[in-house]
Symmetry: none
Subunit: 171 residues, 4 copies
DNA sequence: TAATAATCGAGACGGTACGTCATGTCTTAAG
DNA sequence: CTTAAGACATGACGTACCGTCTCGATTATTA
């Protein structure tokens, strides 16, 4: 069912991602979907969490290179990976629907942000980086442009990410 | 009709913003709306362009203070102004629908970006600022965090904006 | 305008005969039609009266042959003449709408029936025919099968008409 | 649903018989109607077939009296029974729409005509009647005046029916 | 091994909104 | 003063999904 949802989103966009279409695609009764997920947003959230844990883990090594690599992976994830489209679709849907916003925040953005905060703190402590803004501010300053670029169709390149890191974290 | 659409979005969210609801609210026939707008997205775009021209004009004076003021106004616009919700709703809808993406880019983001580019170029020429990234990259680096903050419900404060400007544009 | 209405009925059927279509076909504004006719039924009635006076006049000569010829002409009119379709359409519409029924009765069926009554009376007086039913009954008995045949798509042939006349009017 | 359709036709006429009105009257969703009937014509056809089988069966006994009774019942059915209005409405609609014509012919007129043909054949064989016209011609000659009378608002009386039978079938 | 329960597919149901079409009324500008 | 052009409020069209709801049929477990 997660695959069916994923495929539909990738192939036909969020508008075509209806519960009925997922059921059709997965060869499953509608009620079976409703038994396990309260909404299509939660289905997408499950696929996103799955895929993120596979190819977008927050690195353990608190080095400047690790941070750079993570941000470059994030930019590529949004630009190229089908799961990146899921991220964008959920971020979008959160603007239309408060329940989505809460779920997305709690199950995805929050945990990820916690890990990112820790990464930054350790790296700063180790002298690898020297952020001049607060932790959350610097994370928004790093992730914001990447996400905003993806949202507006102007993907940020690897060099762009590096320049951003240099600008904001250079010791 | 624009007011009706605006009000409905502000009061009940994007999900409740149906063509039929707008018609009901405005005391107007559905067909009358279809006569003038091909979709509710274009209605929102019109209200956004209207409202933006009133309270979010790109400043003429190419000074550091002008740029700071503009970005602070943008952050406040997204956080507090009902029209800011329209911006976020359109950016969100653009992720679900390619036609929205094209329209939003062409009628709103594009022209605004052109004005912003000119502003930055003049200010750099005047020595008011010294961006180390390319024009578009620096604009994304400035606007991205503000938008991302608004999308995730973490509004960027005036001081946050100032710090960002200091970091990225300080001569 | 009458031609436009006629043409549309003949080509695309009664369902496609809308006031807007007539206006379009005639190259005329809708309001111009409403100025002169209260409804499309009256337009059709006008065309039917026109066409009937041309090729379906009740004969003056009160002879058996005259009556036979009139009924054969009526059968052919319904089966082949485009104006015959107008007659059937109006008779049909009269079942759906009381105003049509009244108009059709008063402006078309009534006058025609009066002439037919007179024709039969004169012919009977002259000994050309010997109807055993009342005047209206015999007229219904003659016209009814022809109309019913046309309504059900089973046109009555010339010989069929003759046989009917022989059966009902034979002296 | 059939009752709702019937009631609406009887009370407000064919023009008010919209799918939405039937759904409203029956307390049912529009889609539920579309699930079972392709058009309102088929709904009416179903009610007509139901009602006809109850109170307008073609008699089994091939006697002159049986035929007379059947025709009188038909005349009364058209004049007084609400289901008679359904018959007239369908016959009318068949003039406006070829699909209705085909359906009405195949599901109602055709089967009924077959039974009537058999009735007449048996009665003729038994010497009860002596039709001088062909089977279909005589049926049209008998039914046509009754239907035409109903269509033009001039109901045929019981005596009128008897006279017609006497005239056309007398041995 | 048979009864019992959980899960499934299928799909009907009352709703709501879609975008289109024609209605009959109206206003405007040109002749 | 009539016309064409066409905007307007109204309301039905037939379609797509929504989320809820019964149905058997098919597994799994428990007695």
């Amino acid at each position: 069912m997660l695959h069916a949802a994923d495929d539909l989103l990738a192939e036909h966009g969020f508008a075509a991602l209806t519960i009925e279409a997922i059921a059709r695609e997965a060869g499953v009764a509608k009620q079976t979907i409703y038994r396990w997920w309260p909404s299509k947003v939660e289905i997408l959230l499950d696929t996103l969490i799955d895929d993120s844990s596979k190819c977008l883990a927050v690195p353990q090594s608190p080095t400047a290179a690790g941070i750079r690599g993570y941000l470059r992976a994030f930019a590529r994830f949004l630009a190229e990976n089908p799961a990146g489209k899921v991220f964008l679709a959920l971020l979008a849907q959160a603007q239309h629907d408060a329940a989505t916003a809460a779920s997305f925040q709690e199950r995805y953005l929050g945990p990820r942000r916690a890990a990112e905060r820790e990464l930054l703190a350790l790296a700063a402590e180790a002298g690898e980086i020297a952020p001049r803004l607060g932790v959350d501010a610097v994370l928004d300053a790093l992730l914001g442009p990447i996400v905003y670029g993806a949202l507006t169709g102007a993907a940020v390149s690897g060099e762009g990410v590096d320049a951003l890191v240099e600008e904001l974290l250079r010791p």
